[in-house]
């Protein structure tokens, strides 16, 4: 436990993943089909998965509301880019814990869950485990869900609002036509959805503080795991960009207003309106 942490402090761990920048324009998105990997576009550094930053924001909102919280950001992988991974610290998180090991290249979510569970058990105990609703690379949306099973903790997904009440947490969970209100005990595992609101931008003070903080690093050996034990359950056979053969029919009028009129007439001609 860090300085200033008491028994009353609510310890929160936020799971974060380093991903290729999803704002990369489609024209620059390329795949090396011989290795089944995405070719990192020139000059576009990786970022922390945006949905995970929303989960960091959720933890920071609890602090803003007056709760005594300690926020740890945790990630597993290899080849971490520190400028990217320190963003949650610059936003206001307290600690960054990385399981950084070359044995964690190209892992699947089953392996990720196992390693995260071991790291959480070693670094914990935690009162809340937060994850983003999904990662913008493999879009699987189940690491956090799987973690709740492996750790044997209650799970609530798609949380848009949370409030601490002593030893429980009151939640709003998004459903298609509104939301559910849910009460969960501590500790629990939650996935946070983007309806919560946009993650805050780091301010200068936060960036300065983050630059002075060092990540705490675990290797697989520190967690008592041998990379030989980490057998993926899904074997990637092929990764490719699907071909689009759609051809757009551009409507061009004398001016833009005329184009608008012609578009409506064309849609009527096709019996679409």
């Amino acid at each position: 436990m860090g300085i200033g942490i008491t028994e009353l402090t609510v310890r929160i761990v936020v799971l974060a993943k380093q991903v290729p920048d999803p704002e990369t324009p489609p024209s620059q998105f390329k795949i090396d089909e011989s290795t089944n990997t995405v070719i990192p576009p020139n000059g576009v550094p990786p970022v922390v998965n945006g949905f995970d930053l929303t989960a960091v924001e959720a933890a920071l909102l609890l602090r803003d509301s007056g709760a005594d919280v300690e926020i740890t950001v945790m990630s597993v992988g290899s080849d971490f880019v520190m400028d990217a991974m320190k963003k949650p610290l610059a936003m206001g998180a307290d600690r960054l814990v990385l399981v950084d090991d070359s044995g964690l290249d190209n892992i699947d979510s089953a392996v990720t869950v196992r390693v995260l569970a071991a790291a959480i058990e070693k670094d914990g105990p935690y009162d809340l485990i937060l994850g983003g609703r999904q990662a913008s690379d493999w879009d699987q949306a189940h690491v956090t869900l799987g973690l709740s099973e492996v750790l044997g903790l209650p799970l609530v997904s798609l949380v848009q609002k949370l409030e601490l009440n002593g030893d429980s947490v009151s939640l709003q969970r998004v459903i298609p036509d509104g939301y559910q209100t849910i009460t969960a005990p501590l500790p629990s595992v939650l996935t946070i959805t983007n309806e919560l609101g946009e993650p805050r931008y780091p301010n200068l003070r936060g960036i300065m503080q983050a630059s002075r903080k060092k990540p705490e690093i675990f290797s697989l050996a520190d967690l008592g795991i041998s990379s030989d034990d980490l057998v993926p359950k899904l074997e990637l056979k092929k990764l490719y960009i699907p071909e689009s053969n759609k051809q757009v029919e551009l409507i061009e009028g004398e001016d833009e207003a005329d184009s608008g009129k012609k578009l409506a007439l064309r849609l009527r001609e096709e019996k679409l309106i």
Binding site: H142, I175, N194, K261
Partner: protein, 319 residues
């Protein structure tokens, strides 16, 4: 023989829903498929003609479990344990995404979410294809271990016309689940007009609108067409319109006759929610934007100049 357990879901009328019928078609496409359908509660009458081997009815889970799915996960885990299927298929719904993932990690099984294709004619294992990187790429995986647990994206398969005469039996694990988290209420958000998911016309706005005000123009157009208003994630995250309007990978999936995208760049994450529309119409200033690669009709231009005459002509045609 390939034994498949398919976990069914119901529509608002209590009938087997469309996604489940599509999943049955996918399951029947597997080599020597023997399909069992599990459904919570008494099977609807239409289930007796499904083209499957067997229907297993599960004890009804309580309303307090809806969204948490502790009881549902326990019940389906017990069924999988007692019947040892080689493949377990869920729809990629709220229910399927959560229960599928929890079942897989509880039983240390392989899980592939949001698949658009499943086959097992290429070797020992099951092969699945799923969109990744927000739909920019497709990934094909092989799963050698059993059971392979998958969720299927709606619309990936067409429901078949075949019928059958399955046997029906009940399953009750007898397990009692102590629920740690509990649902205390449901708040329905007010909505005017048609439901976005049911609309035949959707008028969506994105970052290119520049602010919240233009959504009133989009609303006028949607009203004239008898449709609903959608939005890109960028527009929702910016607070211009409520997130309940968001179309895309992390929002709603729509398949209207006409999807009109105004000031939307067409990132693959957005297209994942509207690509099954009959016709996509794009209005965007940037001729190079991705939306023109996905659209059937397009206007390269300023929406502020295009939309008023488009709306006026639509009103005349509809009058």
């Amino acid at each position: 023989m390939t034994s498949i357990l398919l976990v069914a879901e119901r529509d608002e009328q209590g009938e087997i829903n469309q996604s489940t019928l599509q999943a049955i078609a996918a399951a029947n496409g597997l080599l020597d498929a023997v399909v069992t359908v599990a459904i919570s509660g008494e099977a609807p009458a239409s289930a007796s003609a499904l083209a499957v081997e067997k229907i297993v009815t599960l004890a009804v889970v309580s309303i307090a479990d809806e969204g948490i799915y502790d009881q549902a996960t326990a019940e389906i885990s017990a069924l999988v344990e007692s019947t040892s299927p080689e493949v377990v298929i869920f729809s990629k719904s709220d229910f399927g995404s959560i229960v599928g993932a929890r079942l897989a990690f509880r039983s240390d099984s392989a899980f592939a979410a949001d698949c658009i294709e499943i086959s097992n004619d290429g070797g020992d294992g099951v092969s699945v294809t799923r969109p990744v990187y927000g739909g920019s790429a497709l990934a094909e995986f092989e799963i050698a271990s059993k059971p392979a647990i998958v969720t299927l994206r709606a619309g990936s398969y067409e429901a078949g016309n075949e019928t059958g005469s399955p046997s029906i039996e009940a399953f009750d694990s007898g397990a009692s689940v102590e629920q740690a988290a509990s649902v205390t209420g449901t708040v329905a958000e007010a909505r005017d007009g048609v439901r976005l998911e049911d609309a035949n016309f959707v008028v969506s706005g994105g970052r290119g609108l520049g602010g919240p005000e233009p959504f009133s123009v989009l609303t006028d157009l949607a009203n004239a067409l008898g449709g609903a208003v959608g939005a890109s994630r960028a527009a929702c995250d910016a607070g211009w319109i409520d997130h309940s309007h968001q179309v895309g990978l992390t929002g709603k999936s729509v398949s209207p006759d006409v999807y009109i995208a105004v000031g939307i760049s067409g990132a693959s994450q957005h297209m994942a929610g509207c690509s099954s529309s009959r016709a996509i119409v794009a209005i965007n200033k940037d001729a190079d934007s991705n939306i023109f690669k996905e659209a059937r009709f397009g206007i390269v231009g300023d929406w502020e100049k295009v939309l008023p005459s488009f709306l006026a002509t639509v009103r005349e045609l509809k009058a």
